[in-house]
């Protein structure tokens, strides 16, 4: 990969921050956007903006086509069977809530068991927590092992005939751990449980094949994979979507409405009430095409090399503790860490003064913070436009942070 050429595709990457060149290492929070995405959105508004699935005029045909082309792009990107299985949402969070309020609302009963992992982002925990409270269902938590990988033995022992749903994060937004979703799905299916995979962190960084994984539901967020904010997608097997009641209701999701009857629209529009975020979908299509041109295998290989380099270099920072797997083959480009004597919030400010953007805090994964015995962590997360030189700058700035706070016993 010609990184210098790739970086030119991202206007913000040439920006100066506090008189330093921006080093953007908060890609697990959101990614930067290439010009093709920015231009695709501008092109819609300059040339063919019209509400989708409504008008009979040319502009409306063009915008509707662009919107549905984006659905096809998402289908292709994750290798779903049909565009009927792709529902646009605001983000992965909304996709996960959609499942909780439709399929799970109708199918989870008192005494049923829901299994999730300790690594879940709040978005794949709180909806199940609330559902369990509403229904009197039981939540079981799969712990992580000391090496930052999922405790599969514990998972196997938790599965039972009572298990109705398994919620699992594909790539942890804190540890970076890539969980063995295919095996998790296969084990769950043997017990008759459905599996919801949170792909918010995995879809941007690795090849996704939902048919191979065989999960029942898969959620992703556009803004974490070069797309604009406010657009995400839910993949669900067609048979589930057919059986599910709508989530939100109003325009678009209906075929026919009289004062005393409503006929729902076909898939996937049955789940898309109201004017959708077609601007976002059109931006997401440009993002997917950009990723496809690079090749997800290339992205994954390059990021693994960056991660291995970062793991090696960050070890040289005094008193650093890196959470999650230390083996780059087991994880994505997400490194959460703490430095003894320097709070992550202070690390964030010191790095910012060097133009380096990282995240500090609980990463919307407070159960995992508690499990690790901390209230906060610093986190650097990479994308394919990052470089080894940027990791060197990160490591130098971390050493500076340690110096400012002196040596603490």
């Amino acid at each position: 990969m010609d990184i210098e050429r790739i970086r030119k595709d991202f206007p913000v990457l040439s920006r100066m921050v506090r008189d330093k060149k921006l080093v953007y290492l908060d890609n697990a929070a959101t990614t930067q956007k290439p010009s093709v995405v920015i231009e695709a959105i501008a092109d819609l508004y300059r040339n063919y903006n019209a509400n989708v699935h409504r008008g009979v005029y040319l502009l409306a045909e063009e915008s509707t086509q662009a919107y549905e082309d984006s659905r096809e792009a998402v289908r292709r990107f994750i290798n779903a069977n049909s565009t009927k299985e792709i529902v646009f949402t605001r983000n992965a969070t909304e996709a996960l809530n959609l499942i909780a309020y439709t399929w799970a609302e109708a199918n989870i009963k008192a005494g049923d068991e829901i299994i999730v992992s300790i690594m879940e982002h709040h978005s794949n925990y709180v909806p199940w927590f609330r559902l369990a409270r509403r229904k009197g269902a039981v939540i079981k938590i799969v712990p992580s092992r000391m090496d930052g990988e999922l405790d599969m033995d514990a998972y196997k022992s938790m599965l039972s005939d009572k298990t109705r749903l398994v919620g699992i994060v594909h790539m942890s937004n804190v540890f970076g751990t890539i969980n063995p979703v295919k095996e998790i799905v296969s084990l769950a299916h043997k017990k008759g449980a459905v599996v919801v995979v949170d792909g918010a962190q995995s879809a941007p960084h690795m090849k996704i094949d939902v048919r191979d994984i065989d999960c029942d539901f898969f959620a992703l967020s556009g803004h974490k994979m070069l797309g604009p904010t406010g657009i995400g997608a839910l993949y669900a097997k067609e048979s589930y979507l057919e059986s599910m009641d709508p989530f939100l209701s109003g325009g678009e999701m209906i075929l026919k409405v009289t004062l005393d009857s409503v006929v729902y629209n076909e898939l996937p529009w049955k789940f898309e009430a109201g004017t959708p975020n077609y601007e976002g979908a059109i931006g997401l299509k440009a993002a997917i095409e950009y990723l496809e041109a690079l090749g997800m295998d290339t992205v994954e290989t390059y990021e693994r090399e960056l991660t291995a380099y970062a793991l090696e270099k960050m070890k040289t920072v005094p008193d650093i503790f890196i959470y999650g797997p230390l083996n780059a083959a087991k994880k994505g480009g997400i490194l959460a860490f703490n430095i003894k004597g320097v709070h992550s919030h202070d690390i964030g400010t010191i790095l910012d003064s060097e133009g380096i953007a990282i995240r500090a805090g609980h990463h919307c994964a407070q159960p995992l913070m508690i499990d690790c015995g901390v209230s906060a962590m610093a986190r650097a997360s990479f994308y394919f436009y990052n470089t080894k030189q940027e990791i060197d700058l990160l490591v130098a700035a971390l050493k500076k942070a340690k110096e400012i706070f002196g040596h603490v016993a």
Binding site: G341, H345, M369, S375, I404, F405, G406, V408
Partner: protein
């Protein structure tokens, strides 16, 4: 903006060796608070002697700004009347808001004046005064 302005020696000293950290026996008032975004936590316990803050202790965890602020604030108000304490807190808030403030009244607390240049960090420095506010409301 330089890091030395923000992370002054006195701030790091109070972060690493906080004053008035721990618990009081039989506090007259206590309160706690947190910044959900970053996880900073502060709890304060106060004892009054008539109209005076006879003693104050805090516990907490978080960044250097939130914890040094708690240490410096407890130092600043110990032995002061409730009225004086409120005045100090008001001036401290003015300082963080970038308004004019009474430097003499603030004393060592002025070390935190550069936090105002880091908008994301102002809430770290403000946590202790919010907690103290709640605690003072408990005084009859």
């Amino acid at each position: 903006m330089s890091l030395e302005e923000l992370f002054k020696e006195i701030i790091i000293e109070h972060y690493q060796h906080p004053k008035n950290q721990g618990h009081l026996e039989h506090p007259d008032a206590k309160s706690d608070g947190s910044n959900p975004l970053c996880g900073d936590e502060i709890a304060m316990e106060l004892r009054f002697d008539g109209d005076r803050v006879k003693d104050v202790m805090f516990t907490g965890n978080g960044c250097s700004i939130s914890q040094s602020a708690a240490s410096l604030i407890t130092e600043a108000i110990k032995g002061k009347t409730v009225e004086e304490t409120k005045k100090i807190m008001g001036e401290y808030r003015n300082m963080l808001a970038g308004k004019e403030y009474d430097a003499e009244l603030l004393g060592d607390l002025e070390a935190l004046s550069d936090v105002k240049k880091y908008p994301a960090r102002v809430k770290c420095a403000s946590l202790s005064v919010a907690v103290l506010d709640q605690a003072l409301q408990q005084k009859k």
